[in-house]
């Protein structure tokens, strides 16, 4: 009697409800997509034709190969650039280092395709730098379009992620480990290679995985700057959206291939990193020291130069938003016309973004605290499965989730395609993990005895949770929620597939304006988005009292 009551308390019901949510809005769509990829779209028979088509035509295989090439290169390059940056920032006192950390964070928070479009404005065929170099030095700059451009934009976008991961890891390395190595005669490079690098390798691998998945899934960048260089997300989008010859089934088949590939990489990473993990906690963390002479100057130059490079696209977009336009081209002089046009023509997008993002956020916060609670405090088979479900957005690219939702919910019994609900569902599924992670992290630090104390004093399970546990979790919840928020408002790859005229968001509007060549309006909207992002991040930093975000 006592036992069964304990097993089926209110938390079991909550776990079941959330589980059901994931079944309907994540498992079912992915399953539908899987089924669809194995059946002929017109005859309805089981067939492997889509897969045969994909693997027999060089055009498709090429896109897969391109994706892998881009992703691997971006991941390696981002790690190679970010690690020294993090090391310098952690060991050398840099003037204005806390501001720089915030700027680096901001540079990572914009939608990647905005970076792509800005780099086109800077280094493209008619880019300002291209033209400047040509007129002054008479040199034709190398082409930015294609592989090189994608690599540039994505690498700059991803460096901050690894930077933040590695910075966090360096903080957990105890200074005395470095001193122990020094006392045994290791210094400089050999100290780093033999001690520091092995210690941060697990973190580097975790950061690398995140970058790998993001680069693999990114759709906006190759779409804008790739031109002929097709990657898989572009392929899927074209197959799915294309008005002539588009084929849901084929898009589903490619999606299945991508998800299988991503899952394989994910599992491989977990397998390798599980064997290499160790827990560290630093009694005396490594602290930045004041250096003098050439070393300090070099460190400053490297850090400042990188920060400038990372912010350049956003700064330039902001600059162009104040430029006068004539039709589609920028002309001399400054004005606020772009803003006026932006608000006149697509002001609704800003409103849509807020309505959709806030609704999603409310659901995210509610679900995240409950999921965090059941996965941390009520470990059982059900909550473990739930835990695995929440990791799926890591592996499933946004555009693929968008397609899966669309092909599942555009017919009975549940028709929500074209509504705000489907977009909110996609936002919730994709951006929940940030809030779950931060909520779970803080919950791990709260002693379970406190809840038992409340229950022993006669409070109910729910009362204990809302009056005792939740208030203590709040700081963690808020910091995750702001990350969820920022990533929702800069989201493109799912909303581009799910949006309709009524649910057009700012990012979708920017993207469509860029594609149409309305750079002025795009710049104005991007600036608005940047301001919202920066303000949100500053609120986050203020609230959490932190100088950086760990993801």
């Amino acid at each position: 009697m006592n036992r069964s009551r304990k097993r089926f308390d209110v938390w079991t019901n909550i776990s079941l409800l959330i589980f059901l949510f994931y079944i309907v809005f994540l498992a079912l769509p992915l399953f539908t997509m899987l089924i669809k990829s194995f059946y002929n779209g017109t005859t309805g028979d089981f067939s492997l034709a889509y897969f045969v088509k994909f693997f027999s035509k060089p055009y498709y295989l090429n896109a897969l190969f391109n994706s892998i090439k881009v992703t691997v290169c971006v991941t390696i390059l981002a790690a190679v650039i970010a690690t020294p940056l993090a090391y310098i920032m952690s060991t050398v006192k840099i003037k204005g280092s806390s501001t720089i950390r915030i700027l680096i964070l901001i540079s990572s928070m914009s939608a990647p395709f905005i970076g792509a479009y800005s780099w086109i404005l800077l280094l493209g065929r008619n880019g300002v730098i291209t033209k400047f170099v040509k007129s002054v030095f008479g040199i034709t700059m190398p082409d930015i379009y294609g592989f090189g451009g994608i690599l540039l934009v994505l690498t700059l976008q991803m460096v901050p992620l690894i930077f933040m991961y590695v910075s966090g890891a360096l903080k957990s390395v105890d200074q005395s480990l470095m001193e122990a190595a020094e006392s045994m005669g290791y210094k400089g490079i050999s100290k780093m290679r033999k001690v520091l690098l092995p210690l941060i390798t697990p973190t580097l691998m975790a950061g690398g995985l995140l970058v790998f998945m993001r680069a693999l899934a990114d759709f906006g960048t190759p779409m804008l700057i790739g031109e002929g260089y097709k990657t898989v997300p572009v392929l899927i989008f074209n197959e799915f959206i294309s008005e002539v010859g588009g084929d849901d089934g084929f898009a589903a088949a490619i999606s299945v291939i991508v998800v299988i590939f991503a899952t394989a990489v994910f599992l491989l990473q977990k397998f390798v990193s599980n064997r290499k993990s160790y827990t560290m906690s630093a009694l005396n963390p490594i602290e930045p020291k004041k250096k003098s002479g050439i070393g300090s100057i070099l460190a400053h130059i490297v850090i400042y130069l990188y920060t400038l490079l990372a912010l350049l696209p956003q700064l330039y977009v902001i600059y162009t938003s104040f430029q006068k336009t004539s039709g589609r081209i920028f002309v001399k002089g400054y004005s606020l016309d772009s803003y006026r046009d932006a608000f006149d023509s697509i002001g609704g997008a800003i409103q849509n973004t807020f309505v959709l993002a806030i609704s999603s956020l409310v659901i995210i916060i509610l679900l995240a605290v409950l999921i965090a609670y059941v996965t941390v405090r009520r470990k059982n088979a059900l909550t473990n499965t739930l835990d695995i479900f929440t990791m799926f957005p890591y592996i499933v690219p946004g555009s693929i989730l968008g397609i899966a939702l669309l092909i599942t919910f555009n017919h009975k019994p549940l028709v929500i395609s074209g509504t705000a609900i489907i977009i909110i569902v996609s936002f919730v599924i994709r951006r929940l993990p940030y809030t779950i992670r931060s909520s779970a992290a803080i919950l791990h630090q709260i002693n379970g005895g406190i809840e038992e104390a409340a229950i022993s004093l006669g409070a109910s399970q729910m009362k204990t949770f809302f009056k005792i546990t939740l208030p203590m979790m709040l700081a963690g919840v808020v910091s995750g929620a702001i990350l969820s928020w920022v990533t929702i408002i800069t989201e493109l790859s799912t909303s581009i597939i799910l949006y309709t005229a009524k649910t057009k968001t700012v990012t979708v509007a920017i993207y469509t304006e860029v594609v149409r060549g309305n750079y002025g309006v795009a710049a104005a909207l991007s600036t608005v988005l940047t301001v919202i992002t920066v303000v949100s991040l500053l609120i986050f930093l203020k609230l959490s009292g932190q100088k950086e975000i760990s993801m």
């Binding site: 105890d174 005395s176 480990l177 001193e179 122990a180 190595a181 020094e182 006392s183 045994m184 005669g185 290791y186 210094k187 050999s190 033999k194 001690v195 092995p198 210690l199 390798t201 290499k276 160790y278 827990t279 560290m280 009694l283």
Partner: protein, 368 residues
């Protein structure tokens, strides 16, 4: 290979604040030397200056004849044991111990041989292929010690190596450390804030406060003839009672209140301070009282008693209102009960008499 460490007028500053003002000390070859003091006294700072991790703002440190002020830590040939052990979590026990050797031109078989040898010395051969996370605190401690001494350092430096261990293990480990140190005969500088630990392991102890060595001596000297009231109260337990020192016909006697007078022999007062009566502070350790029933000495009232087996502690109030602690070997008779009146005398050959500021010990050297 051991060296003598001579420290001359050493100064450590952090910005404008001076942490160690002009400290000089000589640590003998093969000696187990302990820096003991409360937290913030500069003991770890001094150790890290010897190691080379802290800069030196003035003075010199010599290993034998060689000034090592500007020698890098890695070139000083030191072995260091850190408070949190600083075991490399990504290397096995063997990997950790071999780490320092791999940086020297030593062949692989020779390294393996040395590692095996040291593993035997610290008695952890069976864990040689384990990862550090699978070791207990005491085992990690042994790895840290092995790693430090396997390179045959000239100097072994230990920074509160036992403070993360539980009480019982700490006692086992300190005996092990002492034994291993004696076996390998390395000049050792050991930092601790635990006075019992310091007395157990050290040949000599430097008691520090505010960057200044208050007393430098053997454990016995420091306990029995502490240089000043700070050392007396920091090392062991003691009662400080104010009284007067009287000098008549070449004889000294102590007045400790209520007419209790105790003749005392081994007193040396500097000529400049000589007076017929001198106010003093008297340090009487709990075991340096006699409890008497014959109305001799100071009158006192028992407040409560603690029976600890071998010894019994009494807390008593003197007529002046001061509470003092007394230790006695336990008797088979019943304990003295609270409220009971007793009389106290002191053991004049054991107590210490200080000037009124508590800075100068008038009592003569302990007879060894």
């Amino acid at each position: 290979m051991s060296v003598t460490i001579s420290i001359q007028d050493l100064v450590k500053k952090y910005g404008e604040t001076t942490v160690i003002p002009e400290l000089s000390v000589e640590i003998q070859k093969g000696e187990f030397f302990t820096l003991l003091g409360p937290s913030g006294c500069g003991k770890t700072t001094l150790l890290r200056m010897i190691a080379g991790f802290n800069s030196i703002e003035g003075g010199t440190i010599n290993f034998n004849d060689k000034v090592i002020n500007n020698v890098e830590p890695g070139k000083r040939n030191i072995g260091m044991v850190f408070q949190n052990y600083a075991i490399f979590p990504h290397l096995t026990v063997k990997g950790n111990i071999a780490f320092g050797l791999q940086n020297r031109k030593i062949s692989k078989p020779e390294i393996a041989e040395k590692v095996d040898e040291i593993l035997k010395v610290v008695q952890i051969e069976q864990y040689k292929d384990r990862m550090p996370k699978n070791l207990s605190g005491g085992q990690q401690q042994r790895v840290a010690l092995a790693r430090a001494i396997v390179i045959r350092p000239d100097v072994l430096l230990m920074d509160e190596p036992l403070s993360n261990l539980d009480a019982k293990l700490r006692i086992d480990m300190r005996n092990a450390i002492k034994e291993i140190q004696r076996e390998v005969g390395i000049t050792t500088v050991y930092v601790t804030h635990d006075q019992e630990e310091a007395m157990a392991v050290s040949d000599r102890i430097a008691v520090m406060k505010s960057g200044v060595i208050q007393h430098l001596g053997t454990p016995q000297e420091i306990y029995q003839r502490p240089a000043n009231v700070f050392v007396a109260t920091f090392i062991g337990r003691t009662n400080i009672i104010e009284g007067t020192l009287q000098h008549e016909h070449g004889q000294y006697s102590l007045q400790m209140g209520q007419g209790y007078q105790e003749p005392i022999a081994n007193i040396q007062v500097p000529k400049s301070e000589m007076k017929s009566t001198l106010p003093v502070q008297i340090s009487v350790r709990p075991e340096e009282f006699n409890i008497r029933q014959d109305q001799q000495g100071m009158k006192a009232t028992i407040v409560h008693s603690v029976f600890l087996g071998q010894h019994t502690h009494y807390f008593v109030d003197l007529a002046s209102g001061q509470r003092v602690e007394i230790t006695q070997e336990s008797q088979t008779a019943e304990l003295l009960s609270p409220g009971q009146t007793v009389y106290l005398t002191v053991k004049p050959d054991k107590i210490n008499v200080y000037d009124i500021k508590g800075e100068l010990n008038y009592t003569g050297r302990v007879q060894l």
